[in-house]
Amino acid sequence: MPNSLSAQGTLRRGVYSNSELGFQLKVPAKWTQVPTQVDERWVVAQFQSDMRYEGHVKLDGPRCRHRPTMRVIKFDEAVSKDIASVGRDADDAAVRTHKRPYRNYRDYVKRNSSKGGFYFSVEKPGAKLGKYSVDIYEVKVEKLSRNGRRHYIAYVFRGTGIDFAVEFDFLEYKFKKLKSSALRCFRSFKLIPRTTGARQSSGIEDRITGTWLDPDWKNKSAAERRLLRRKIAELRARRAIAGLPRGWRVSESKHFTILSNASKKHTSRLVKSAETCRTWLDKRFGAMNDEYVSKGILRICRNYDEFSVYRTRSSDAVSLNNREIATYENKNLGNGAAFGPLFYSLYTQFMAEKHNLLHSSTPYWLRSGMEDYLRSARVRGSKIEFTSSTYVAKTFRLLRRSKVEPRTPRQLMNLADSQFSKGNKKDPVIAHQLETFFRFIESSRKQPKILESRGSDFVLDYLRESMKAAEEYETARKASKPSSTAAVTEAEEEERTRQRSGRIQKRRNAICKAVNGALCGWSDTEWQSLDRAYRVYLKQQKYL
């Protein structure tokens, strides 16, 4: 069970105390607390120094900068032993759930380290620190280290039923200088009486899922599904708010719960952009089906360093119900560069909730075009604009110079999956051509006649048809599945292997073919008219 709600501590006058877990310690001066993720079960609290240190130019790289970090990690004996549980499914059959909890700090480091190659340089179990018995560890991250060589120092204190690892993360280059601040902190550690048992969360989110993975999802009515997703979103928002350190601000907008530690100006600008994008997504793709898209959490960190500590989580701190987008204030970047990834995240979350097969089954030409289109989004005032990058123009310039004709709409819409990875100089970046083609479909005030004649909204119809084709493909695959007779000869075995190979590509190609068959069964003349319209568009953009 995530700990955000169950074990909140307080930081007052440089002393962090957590009466529910029963410990307190001094945090180095001018260090600030960073929230932990909603699904985090191990890291109780984390802090970051306001001082930024530079690494060794030659050994750590010229751009290595790092703020020391401190984490308190708990190892609850009961949780560490809980590796399998047996429950019952809808048909009352026994279902065994396997977990892989961390056994101790050593195990945690081994399975969780992501900063590069590491080794334990000091291991002193059972050392004495005042009245406490502690295990001392030092870990060096040296080879292929990301953002400089690191030196971790950790003291593991034994509580009743719970061990607490207090860990500091320094640059190796600065370790000698900064070690004393860590030692002072270790010496201040105290076990205090636990006031109450850890509060239990309602547990609802541990049992339910608001995603398509729920086998019963489709049998629920739209209202039931909406209610369920709302419930989960509320619960997660409550947990996230409860886990916020001092100084963070909480606000609500139509589609988001906003948790911000950034400046008010940046927060309001970012929220406005996110709302505009989300409203556009609703307006543009909302009618695809009756699926409710949850309210998300928008977490805005003060800067990249804080964001970087926040997103460093234990490897099991994940949930299918997570609808949080974390970002940070970057004063060096403008609207486009900073918000493009945000819009893309909003888009992928939106689509995932609309249909689980959408991402994996939408024919590649449309998926690639849509994704790049979204990445190019910018918000001006209350409007969202999609501006193509200079790279696209460059691609067409290259084609012109090489005297290669851009692909026609027919060619683009029938590209096999494998062809996307075979770009070379003669056909430089297909993705740019696809983005341009999608821009052509979207940007005309009036859809090209040929597309208009197929329905009210070609893109929506195409997406709906993709979902339908994907479901049919899945049903057919399950029905035809195993040929019960196993291969007896090598020849049979080889034939089956051949059929199996490239399954994902085959699947996507089959879906593309089915959707094109259903929606684009145009005559040659009709294709030519679409091609003409597209070429006119390219000329308008000065691409031809």
Binding site: F118, Y119, E494, R498
Partner: protein, 515 residues
């Protein structure tokens, strides 16, 4: 240094005081601690809580357990007289029992110290450090084992730099070589992502990292040759970054070199049989005889495509290796290709571009232009055709090649074919226990459970302390009713006892047990 005594006689009554918690060190660097062990003439039996495991003498470097067994039937009259006087045979001499017991106790302490010291050295913080003329080695394996690799590296350095006329830039010191005792530790300390089996870091601090594969020492040497080749070609011009297709392919070519530790000589131009198996499968040459496959099975890679590939992946290594193998095995191209390779970095007439971290490189168009020029071919297609024809006539000729072909067939979900290939590898004298494991897994997939158990037993006899082998066997036995399930469960527990820190074993045993 073997410490298994060769004494042959000891009254059984004397066994009792020798029962203790022993330790064992294998030649490949593994250890067993805290278990009771019994030594015998042909090995040591480790008494785990869930079964006894006999470790053959050939695998053992050191053990604290001392022998107590003997043969009383062929004793001479004088021997019997000495026995009557209370003497016992110990290390070929008749001594008093007290003397023998004291010596055994001393040996035990010495062995325990030696093993404990060796175990400590397996931690990177306590690693061994040694220097040779051109290299600086840091390693966690046994120094005796390492000595062979150190010689090999020096010989390789000499052979390659002489053949390619390379001189080390004067300011470059020794290359640091980091060698780990197993893959898991290599990934942890070396920071290598899963799937990588060695790497050469060509920016500061320049170093080479790879690990000792106890199941396949040949593979260890291959990786070492491959990665060291990156260093040696780096010496041509440390500011130049070779394109992946030519750099990795040449490294693969040298990776297949063979090494004779006795004469300390190396032979280049061997067949990378694992790569060949992958290639043959890609182009349909690995198919069973007399069957015509459809054309789309023959997935040949074009030469120009290979040169232009941006991400050079595992399959491309195989293609690249075969191309370089063709060029260096063909007299008309051999010296021309070598010149092309050197000149890519050195010649001023080949246009360079600046890449990452200010390394110079050559664009694909330029590479193609000069490849044609150096090799004297007008059209790449002609060269491509010759190369493809060369691949058609390459054959895997050793047990190792068939082992890899079998492994590849298994990974493609073809257990019938895999069985045939593994059997050929065994018939050709494969000494790799993984060949038997592969065969057992393939047999299990086709429900030949009795045969699979026999194959796993064979693998276990070759390496009785490989815990995963017991898991494979348990999986088969558990399909054989209640008795089988019980036996399987016991084997899983035994595997857990042998390797309690192995995550895969934990998953297979503790989870299975539901505790």
């Amino acid at each position: 240094m073997k410490t298994i005594p060769t004494c042959c006689f000891l009254p059984l009554l004397l066994l009792a005081p020798l029962v203790a918690q022993d330790s064992l060190q294998l030649k490949d660097g593994r250890f067993v601690f805290g278990k009771r062990m019994t030594a015998s003439v042909d090995g040591v039996t480790v008494h785990f809580d869930n079964g006894n495991v006999k470790v053959p003498k050939e695998l053992i470097r050191s053990c604290t357990a001392r022998d107590a067994s003997g043969n009383t039937t062929d004793l001479s009259t004088s021997d019997k007289d000495k026995m009557a006087k209370g003497l016992v045979m110990f290390k070929g001499r008749w001594v008093k029992a007290v003397v023998r017991d004291k010596q055994i106790a001393r040996d035990r302490v010495a062995s325990a110290r030696r093993i404990e010291a060796a175990k400590k050295r397996r931690k990177w913080v306590n690693r061994h450090k040694m220097k040779t003329r051109n290299f600086e080695f840091e390693f966690t394996i046994d120094p005796e084992l390492m000595r062979g690799y150190m010689d090999l590296m020096e010989v390789y350095y000499k052979v390659f730099t002489k053949e390619w006329r390379i001189r080390k830039p004067s300011k470059m010191g020794r290359l640091k070589v980091c060698f780990y005792h197993d893959r898991q530790y290599f990934e942890q300390v070396g920071g290598a992502p899963s799937g990588v089996i060695g790497y050469f870091r060509f920016v500061e601090p320049i170093e080479l990292n790879f690990f000792y594969d106890r199941m396949d020492e040949g593979a260890t040497v291959d990786v070492m040759f491959h990665e060291a080749n990156h260093y040696l070609t780096h010496l041509i011009d440390p500011k130049f970054h070779y394109p992946a297709w030519v750099n990795e392919s040449l490294a693969e070519y040298y990776g297949a070199s063979s090494w004779d530790p006795k004469t300390k000589t190396m032979q280049t131009g061997g067949i990378q049989e694992g790569r060949l198996a992958v290639l043959q499968d890609a182009v349909g040459l690995n198919k069973i005889a007399n069957r015509t496959g459809s054309v789309d099975d023959e997935n040949w890679l074009g030469l120009e495509d290979m040169i232009r590939i941006k991400r050079f992946s595992a399959i491309h290594y195989a293609w690249g290796w075969s191309f370089v193998h063709y060029l260096l095995s063909t007299p008309k191209y051999k010296s021309k290709f070598k010149k092309y390779y050197i000149d890519l970095a050195k010649s001023k007439k080949i246009k360079k571009v600046l890449g990452f971290r200010a390394f110079r490189s050559v664009e694909p168009d330029e590479q193609i232009k000069w490849l044609k020029s150096y090799l004297g071919v007008k059209d790449l297609k002609v060269l491509e055709k010759e190369w493809h024809n060369y691949i058609r006539q390459m054959k895997a000729a050793s047990a190792n090649g068939y082992h890899w072909a079998g492994t590849f067939a298994m990974s493609r979900g073809m257990p019938i074919k895999a069985q045939r290939l593994f059997k050929v590898a065994i018939d050709m004298g494969s000494t790799n226990p993984m060949t038997w494991v592969g065969l057992g897994r393939a047999q299990h997939r086709k429900d030949k459970n009795a045969e699979a158990v026999a194959s796993f037993d064979k693998a276990i006899s070759m390496d009785p302390l490989a815990a995963m082998f017991y898991i494979y066997k348990a999986r088969v036995l558990e399909e054989g009713g209640e008795a089988g399930k019980e036996e399987g469960k016991k084997l899983r527990k035994l595997a857990f006892e042998i390797e309690p820190d192995n995550d895969q074993i934990i998953m297979e045993t503790v989870w299975e047990d539901g505790k």
